[in-house]
Symmetry: none
Subunit: 210 residues, 4 copies
C-alpha cells in the first residue's frame, strides 16, 4: 500500500557508521533548513554543521535532495514515535481518543517548525520520493483509524465504519492547523484551550454519550 522506503546508496560499508553519520546529517540539516530554507542552505554548511567535511558528506548521500529526504523521513518517524509513545492503548476507545488527540496537538506544537519544514520544502523532492514522504503521513493517520475502530468495537464511539478514514484525516487536520495557523490561533487560544475546544467539538460528533 504505502510506497517503499527509499534506500540511499552509500560509499561506506559499515551500516552502523552509516546510521550514525546520517543522524548527524539530519540533526544538522533540520536546523539549517528551518532557519534558512532548503535552497538557501549549502551542502558545505550541512557538512560543517554535521561535524565533517564536504567529501565525507557525499560518502553518505548522493545528492543534496537526499538530505532533504532524510530530514523529512526523520521528522515523520519522530512524529509517529512520539505519538505512539504518548498514547496508552488501555481503556475504552473514547478514552484513548481523547488522550491521542491531546498528544497529537502537543506533538504538533512541539514539532511545529519541523512540520512546517515538510510542508514548505518537500515539494523540492524528486517526484517519486515526494510520493513516499507524503504517504508517510498516511501511516500516522492510521493511528487514529486504529483508535476509532477500537471505540466502535467497544461501543464507546458511534461512527459509521465507512467514515472512519475520513474522521482520522479530520483529526490530523486539527493538529496541523495548530501549526499552520499558529500566528492567528495563538492570539486567541492557549495550547490547552485549543485542545479542549477541538476535543469537545469532535466528541460532540462521535461520542456515544451524546
Amino acid at each position: 500500500m504505502s510506497e517503499k522506503r527509499k534506500t540511499i546508496p552509500s560509499l561506506v560499508k559499515d551500516p552502523k557508521l552509516i546510521e550514525k553519520r546520517r543522524e548527524q546529517i539530519i540533526e544538522a540539516a533540520v536546523h539549517l533548513f528551518i532557519h534558512k530554507g532548503f535552497h538557501k542552505t549549502t551542502t558545505r554548511e550541512i557538512a560543517r554543521a554535521s561535524g565533517f567535511s564536504i567529501g565525507t558528506l557525499y560518502e553518505y548521500i548522493e545528492s543534496k535532495e537526499d538530505v532533504l529526504y532524510l530530514v523529512c523521513d526523520a521528522i515523520h518517524a519522530e512524529m509517529e514515535t512520539r505519538l505512539r509513545e504518548a498514547i496508552n492503548f488501555n481503556g475504552t476507545g473514547l478514552k484513548i481518543l481523547k488522550l491521542a488527540l491531546k498528544s497529537l496537538i502537543r506533538v504538533m506544537d512541539q514539532m511545529g517548525d519541523r512540520v512546517l519544514l515538510i510542508y514548505q520544502e518537500s515539494k523540492s523532492l524528486p517526484k517519486e520520493t515526494l510520493r513516499y514522504v507524503l504517504g508517510r503521513e498516511e501511516e500516522i493517520s492510521q493511528i487514529f483509524v486504529e483508535i476509532l475502530h477500537r471505540g466502535i468495537a467497544d461501543g464507546s464511539l458511534r461512527i459509521d465504519e465507512k467514515h472512519v478514514k475520513l474522521m482520522a484525516d479530520n483529526i490530523m487536520v486539527l493538529g496541523e492547523m495548530w501549526v499552520f495557523r499558529r500566528w492567528a490561533l495563538h492570539k486567541h487560544y492557549s495550547l490547552e484551550e485549543y485542545t479542549e475546544k477541538q476535543i469537545t467539538l469532535l466528541l460532540r460528533e462521535i461520542s456515544v454519550s451524546e
Copy 2:
C-alpha cells in the same frame, strides 16, 4: 494598522505601462512558481514567459524577490476581490455567512495552487515584505468579522463579541484546510459535501436557532 503596501520602483515612467507589464510578469510567474517553485524558476524564464527580454524584466522590478512579492500580493488581491464579489450583503447575517462560507471554500478550491504557493514560498520574501504579505491575509479575514458583526446586530447569530475575531480566523482555517489537505480530503468529500458539513458544524455553534 496594516503594513503599508510596498511600492516597487521602476525605471519606466508610464504608470499604465508599468501596470500592464507587471500583470504580464505576475501571470507568467504564478505559473512558473506553482510548477517549479520560486527558487528553481530563473529570472530569464520569468522574462521569457512574460513575453519580453531579461533586460525589460528588470525595468519593472529591482530583484527576483520583487516578483515573488508581486505574485503574493496579486493572489491576495484576487482572493479578496473574488470573495467580495461573491458575497451578497443583503439579508440576515446568518444568511450572508452561509453564502460567504460557501464562497470562501469555492474560491479556495479554485485558487488552491496559488494559496499553496503563498504558504510555501512567502518565507523567501525579505522580512519586511513578508510581514506585509501576511497582514494582507488578515484583511481577508476581516470580511468575516464584518459578517459576524452583522449577524450579531440583527440577532441571527449568537456569539460573544470578544470571540468574533477568533471565529473569523476559524472560518479562514476551514477554507485553507480544503487546500492544504486536498489530497486527503478529496478522497472522501466532494467540494459540496465538505462545504455542507463545515457549514453545519459552524452554525451548530453560533446560529441562534440552536
Copy 3:
C-alpha cells in the same frame, strides 16, 4: 605636429545646439567621473545630470567613450585658457616666467580633481583618441617654451636653446606634482611655500642673475 582634434559626429544639425548640449554633458560628466570614476558612472546618470534623456544624450555622442574624450579635452582647454589668461606677457622673460610658474601651480591646485581625472581615466580612451589627448598637454607646455625663448632673447634667462623643451617639461612636472602628491606635500607645504620653493630652485638653475 599635434594630432588632429577628433570630431564627434552628431545626429543633430544645429552647431550652436550641439555646442550647448555638449557643454551640459561635460559639466555633468566631469563631476560624475571625479566622484565615481568613468567605469562606475552610467550613461543614464550622465544623461540625467545633463538635464535630458538617455536618447538625447546619444544624439550628441556616439559612445560613452566620447563623453570621456569631451571631458578630457574640455579640461585641457580650460587649463590652457586659465593659464594664458593669468599670464601677462609684458616684461622680461624672467618676470613672466615667475608669474607663469605661480599661475601654473595655482591652476593645478584649483583643477586638481580634473587633472587627476585625466591621469586616471584617459587610459580608457580608444588608442587614437588617447594620443590626441596626451598631445593636448604638449600644447600647454608650449606656453613655457615661448616664455623661455622670450627670456633667452631679452637676456634675462640663461639656458641652452636645446634644453628649452626639457625645461618646459620640467616646469609642467612641478605643477603636476602638486596634484599627484597632494596628500604628501600638503602635510608640509602651503600652496605659497611650495610655489616659492620651486621658483627659487628653478631660477637658481636658469636665471642670469645667479
Copy 4:
C-alpha cells in the same frame, strides 16, 4: 601607526597553497590590469591567466576587488624589497643617499607599469583598503627618512631635523616623476642623465660639502 594589513579570507585551508595560488593570481592580474585596466579585465580572464578555473579563483579571494588589493600590495612589497636590497647601508649617509636615489629611480624605471597601475586603479579599492594601500607607500619613504637621519648623525648631510620628512617625500616625488612623465622625460633624458641631474640638484641643497 600604519593601517593593519588586510587579511583576505580563503575557503582553502592550506596556507602554503593559498600563498602559492595567490602568487599565481597576482602574476596574472598584474599583466592584465596593466594592459586592459582593472575594469576591463574580467574575473574569468584572471582565472584563466592564473591557470585555473573561475571557481578556483573564488576559493582564494572573495571579490574582484580583493585581486586589486593583492596586486597593489604585492607591487609595494616588491618595490620596498628591491629598494632595500639595492641599498648598502655601509658608509656615510651622503654616500648611502646617492646610492639609494639611484636605486629608487632605477626601481621606478623597472616597475613603471606597476607604479602607474597603482596610481590609476587603486581608487577602485574599497575606502578602507585604499587607506592601507596608500599608507604602504609611506613606509617606503621611511627608507629615506632613515638615510637622512644617518647623514645628519654622521655629519655628511646638513638638513634641519624638522625638514627630514619633507625631504624624504620630495625624494619619492623625484622617483615617481620619472614614471608619470615618462613619455615627456624620455625624449630628453636617459635614465642615467635624469638620475645624475636629480642627484646633483638634491645634493646642492643638503650635502655638507657645499
